[in-house]
Amino acid sequence: MRKFILNYLIPRIGQYLMVIFVGVTLTFIIPRLSPNDPVETQVSQMMMSGSHVSPEEIEHLREALTEMYGLSGSPWEQYLAFWGRLLRGDLGPSLSTFPTPVSTLLGRAMPWTFGLLLTAVLISWVIGNVLGAIASYHEGNPAIRLVDILSQAVRPIPYYIMALVLLVVFAYYIPIFPFSGAYPPGMHVELSWSFAMTVIRHSILPALSLILIGLGGWFIGMKSLTSNIISEDYVVYAENAGLRQNTILYQYVMRNALLPQITGLALQLGLIFSGALIMEVVFGYPGMGLLTLQAVMANDYTLIMGITLLSIVGVATSVLILDFIYPLFDPRVRHQ
């Protein structure tokens, strides 16, 4: 057990901190490389909208903004201060909906994204893997061949195009699903059966696009993994022992092929998360993706910073959780 903690858990936690360190540092450096001074951009924007601003007021505003962006002091001091605010959970006020704190906006959007992602990832991962494992055992089956061809066709399509096609087909030409949002505008958010049904109906298209692309990927991955595992000695042995095909398929083939697929999930989370953001933009789903679009439109620099940082921490944490779950499936990691 101690060895397991030392050799497995501690390095994972180290890697987790490393991801956050790299991510946060990038987020800190990028604005400072930009040719545009965010303070000046903000000031000129205010000057264009507000007509009567005195030079003193502008100077005052400039100082306040410099302080707020953490741009005062040497780069090193700025960097430390950046971490300090981050650790306190202080992401500053949103500029477009001043003075609402960025964290409040994020808190509102996060559950939507989280719910959508979790559902879509679970469904696509589970179904993709089951179908992929079955595929290697029933290669000639026409249904499986169809899934195979569809997977190959869907897999490479970028999230945005996929979402757009689904939107055009199922909300525009055959309007069986609502066009946009998670619930009709004006509807009250409440915990009721009918509200839940509305949300689910609204979530189907965004979830479906995520699921379809993910499913294709997991299917193809699992298919090639199982086709290798099928010739492993322990599978040939189990066949020789006359075990039922389902036992072999689930306990021998799939059980072992799942291990790399769990690792694959951890490694792809960043990509999948990015996909979810795009889905939300297309479907006007009120999660972090839509928030990103609004922030871009409204030139809300602090909000974009907040979204970026939360994404990094969120994805890294999910990966860490997966890393912690992994040993439950692989005894070799448990007793090394």
Binding site: R2, K3, L6, N7
Partner: protein, 346 residues
Amino acid sequence: MSENEKLLDVQNVMVSFHVGGWIGGGRLAAVNNVSFALEAAKPEIFTLAGESGSGKTTLARLLLHDLDPTTGKILFEGRDLATIKKRKDVMEFMRKVQPVFQNPFDTFSPLSHVEDYLFDTAVNFGLAPNRRSAAPVVDEALHQVGLSLDEVSQRYPHELSGGQIQRVSVARALIPQPRLILADEPVSMVDASLRMSIVNLFRKLRDEQEVSVIYITHDLATAYYISDRIAIMLRGSVVESGSVEAVLDRPRHPYTQLLQESVPKPAAADREQWAKEIKLGALEITEYRQVGCKYASRCPHVMDICRTADPPDLEVDGRMVKCYLYTNDAKQGVERSAHLEDYKTI
């Protein structure tokens, strides 16, 4: 100086690896206080024999200068291998010491023609100024192993048999005209009908080319057939060494005795001895960790002292044995108990 007369001189070499976690792990001696030497004047075939996990492969890596010992020294022609660092020195060392590997089908890249490696060796070690003029050198080396350049030219490894590749591999090693060839299980993956051709080749090299060979193997029968001297390894230590006839015909260490007796004899006449019941060893790692003699947990003659300290190297009957059974104390102990028996009968 006596060292100058030695081709290879291995002096109290030890290699330890760190095992376990960052904290709380331990060190294991994969090679433990091993010494032996090859004479420069008299080429010979020296066998390092042992089962998997005996440390023979680690020792092979040491001798090829792939790895430096944790303590101890290896001298080749009087020069400490640890001082060979510069590319020029490494090349000079490799010119004189060449390896032959175990798996013929992995010795050459499956995507390359086998003769590429022979030409490379000839050019890199300065036996020919360029590829074109290297052909006679390569052909000559191939002739020494009973092949010709025409036979292997433009062939991929999979187009040749294991025996053929292994001979090409020996030919490659011969190109720089080495003084020592280190062959790590060179026949264990070669078919039975071709095995002897490789084994005989090493004999021929010793007799005709004056090349010394270190033959690393778990196969005592081929070891007996070709080698002059043998060292039996167990969990990193040499437990018995001497002339192959002395060690294998009349083994003294209980482990060598077990090993020798466990080799199945290819004759249907005498099955009894092999069929005697035996006790199998514990997990490798526990035997490595064992204090004292590593064979103590399995040895039928085990004494208390065996579990407390490493047995000394003893000269017994014309060979070295690392065993307490042959110390004076033990002999006396045996005599004393015999003596007591005498008293009882009186």
